[in-house]
Amino acid sequence: MVKLNEPVARPGPVARDNLLRTPWIRALSALLFVFLLGLIFNADGAFFQWGTHRDMLRQISVIGILACGMTLVIITAGIDLGVGSVLGLNAVLFALLCLRLGWPPLLAAGACLLVGVSCGALAGSVIARFNMQPFIATLATMVFARGLAKSISGGEKVSRAVLQPDGSYGYVDLPQFFQRIDYRVFGGNLAVVTLIFLACIVICWVLLAKLRWGRYLYAVGANEEAARLSGVPTRLVKLLAYGLSGAFAAVAGICQAVQEQQGDPEAGATYELSAIAMVVIGGTSLTGGRGQIGFTLLGTLTIGYLEKILSINAVSEAGRLILTGIIIVVAVLLQRKNE
């Protein structure tokens, strides 16, 4: 008799599987992998300089702010393709208000936030009220807001240079607000935009982990019908998610305008895709109901380090794009449950 009663060995020890299954470990492992790459390809020690890390953080902050809002939306099982355009719109608007109309910067920032929230809420209300697919509704915002940005800027960058009646260019003074934001603190070791990014992370964390409405975001993303029948105001929850995503896009737009010292109507194009990549690499599931803002922080750092390492090693842009694409796929494959 053939011995068939013996159990067939299961591949791989169970313990290692379980460790890999903790989402935090998986999110961290992608970051550590990229970090390790940095240690190896350190570009003659450039990777060991704090300045490299500081610059990486500064460069990643604007998109990272978008990723915060994106996380909220993705947790509700949605997607927001409009954030890049809303960023562009607000960069232009902020530059216009501050540099051309001479508004006090804080007031201008408030106006931008209002516009950002409105853009998000507009998409959110269409999604919530008419059950439109988020992909389509926010695709519309993406086109619409970009058009608005081009229309209010006349298709040109809104910069300090103002055309005088005599044909020459005069320069407006940059409000102090610009310098304050585009500045480094802690002995020049950290950019202010990075602090703003971290503040956004904290805000999202408080919402998702500590507030009732954060819980509602998860519930709507995981099972909308069950949530609705449990008394969760599902429409308002979606409105909140997209509204906040718009608000974060406005903050990012202001930061972008400040850093560039101008409002570029083309600013932020394809940023929405980077933001989605950051969220997904962190391990927040596109199917909704799962994920954390901490994952997004890790995902943002992963992409940030990756790009920084490639750039300090003088990899051409073409090569950078190709490698980034590959790494995204690998990282997301790592995230997947082995089931």
Binding site: L4, K210, R212, G214, Y216, A227, L229, G289
Partner: protein
């Protein structure tokens, strides 16, 4: 004397990450028999049939098909050997036609086309043959999701037969079917028996076991308790095998002390979603009136599509724009506005589909329990996790939710415990009226018993319950009064003493002799 054995599974064992779920289980099948696999949830039934269907590949023991040793590597493999599983979640592609579904993955192709060109005519003929054998008179070219569930189930059987299945595995096939549809299915089963098909049949319904089962194998805790001819195993003995202890009375006896009126409904109607006002079948529920008192269980009987489920959903406000009529809660007029409003008015509603509209999968047990009463643990909108845990602990204790800690995900629980979590969610909202649609669907005998007990406890505490249960014995055992619905209207009302299964069924099928 016995015919040659078709299939034999011997000493089957299976573990998941070190935990044995099946130990030394044997099962054999004769041609043309219906072999009922019985046991509580978690007894190992599903695992066993998954091994038979080629889903699980690594197991201990031997399978033999007609004396030939069998090692299956995939469900596709199993299909090639003539073994087909028809699962609870149907595997049809809704947007494809019946023909396309029946031949999906093994399309009949024309000659000389290298398997690329589908031979539509041949497929249509073959599909028509199969369907007429199953008594299906439908347009085979329409997308299958336009058909009723019972029709879809038969399409699924046709799909299995198309690859000349000799062994059919049916996992709770009647779960979503109404009475006449069940009869039709059983008709099909007896035809299949005559053709020599063997069937492994899993069900939680006692009456079905005896109606169609030839032999019964009972599993408990991953072991085989015994196999017997259905005619030689009385119900009490079967239950004892399943749960390992004798249950004297299946339903708690009690004396109702009804109090004041909790809910009154007058001329309540629910419109069919999307129906134009002029259409004939515009109403799911039409002009229904009833009242329930504190301490009372009102049963709502009715076959699939009779409107009893729509009535509960409509009352709770699942579709507030579709309802008309008056409702009164504790004597005060109640306007149906939506779930949130209903919860505030102390109405609770357990849907009949815990997966789709009940549980929030991916959330912990505690978070599922607190969802409908989150305000209570989040003053000023700030969640207080400790208060939430206390809430969960308290509810899990009082409803005896077992098998997991409150922080664990709800999906690891067994069906019965998941149902208790949902009930806990609603009890936490301190409802005055509980609307329960199939609270014991798909859960094991032990858990059913516990839920019956809980319901008694709640009505004793002054709640009123409106209950739907498709198992009539259960409805008669639990309800103080039974309202029977047929095509959206009330066709009969019975007191507990008057109610019999025959009377209810006749009223549910539209026989209004009792009025």
């Amino acid at each position: 004397m016995a015919p040659a054995m078709l299939l034999s599974m011997r000493h089957i064992g299976k573990s998941f990450s070190g935990i044995p779920v099946l130990q030394d289980v044997s099962l054999d099948l004769n041609p043309g028999e219906v072999h009922v696999l019985a046991g509580e949830n978690g007894a190992g039934k599903t695992t066993l049939i998954k091994i038979l269907a080629g889903v699980h590949r690594d197991y201990q023991g031997i399978m033999e098909l007609e004396g030939r040793e069998l090692r299956l590597h995939s469900p596709h493999d199993a299909a090639k050997e003539g073994i087909s599983a028809i699962h609870q979640e149907m595997s049809l592609v809704g947007s494809l036609s019946a023909i396309d579904n029946i031949f999906l993955g093994r399309e009949l192709t024309t000659r000389f086309s290298a398997g690329l060109l589908i031979d539509c005519a041949r497929q249509r003929r073959r599909a028509a043959e199969l369907c007429s054998m199953l008594g299906l008179d439908i347009d085979l070219r329409r997308p299958v999701d336009e058909h009723a569930i019972s029709v879809r189930y038969r399409i699924e059987i046709a799909k299995a037969l198309a690859c000349s299945a000799r062994i059919l595995i049916m996992d709770e096939p009647t779960g979503a079917l109404s009475g006449p549809e069940v009869d039709m299915l059983f008709e099909v089963i007896s035809q299949l028996k005559q053709r020599g098909c063997a069937m492994v049949y899993i069900t939680h319904r006692m009456e079905e076991i005896y109606r169609i089962g030839d032999r019964i194998t009972v599993l408990r805790d991953g072991r085989r308790i015994g196999t017997a001819l259905a005619s030689g195993l009385p119900e009490a003995e079967l239950i004892r095998w399943m749960i390992g202890r004798e249950i004297a009375t299946r339903f708690p006896t009690r004396r109702i002390e009804t109090g004041r009126e909790r809910l009154r409904v007058e001329n309540f109607s629910v419109a069919r979603p999307g129906a134009a006002p002029a259409q004939g079948a515009r109403w799911l529920v039409q002009d229904v009136s009833f009242s329930v008192r504190a301490g009372e269980v009102l049963g709502l009987a009715g076959l699939q599509g009779s409107g009893n489920s729509a009535l509960l959903a409509g009352l709770f406000g699942a579709c507030p724009n579709a309802v008309t009529g008056k409702a009164f809660l504790d004597g005060r007029p109640f306007q149906v506005r939506g779930p949130r409003n209903s919860i505030q008015h102390r109405l609770a509603y357990l849907t009949n589909d815990r997966k789709a509209s009940g549980l929030i999968h991916g959330m912990s047990i505690a978070r599922n329990i607190s969802l409908a009463s989150l305000q209570a643990v989040s003053p000023w909108g700030v969640l207080r996790e400790q208060a939430e845990m206390e809430m969960a602990d308290r509810q899990m204790q009082s409803l005896a939710v077992r098998g997991a800690a409150p922080t664990q995900e709800v999906r690891i629980l067994s069906g019965g415990n998941q149902q208790k979590v949902l009930l806990a969610k609603w009890i936490e909202t301190r409802p005055a009226v509980l609307l329960l649609d199939e609270p014991t669907r798909g859960i094991d005998v032990g858990a059913k018993q516990e839920i019956y007990g809980l319901m008694q406890k709640w009505v004793a505490a002054g709640m009123a319950i409106v209950l739907i249960a498709s198992e009539l014995q259960e409805l008669i055992g639990l309800a103080d009064r039974i309202l029977v619905m047929h095509r959206g209207r009330v066709s009969a009302v019975f007191s507990r003493e008057e109610a019999t299964r025959e009377k209810i069924l006749r009223a549910a099928m539209g026989d209004s002799w009792s009025n």
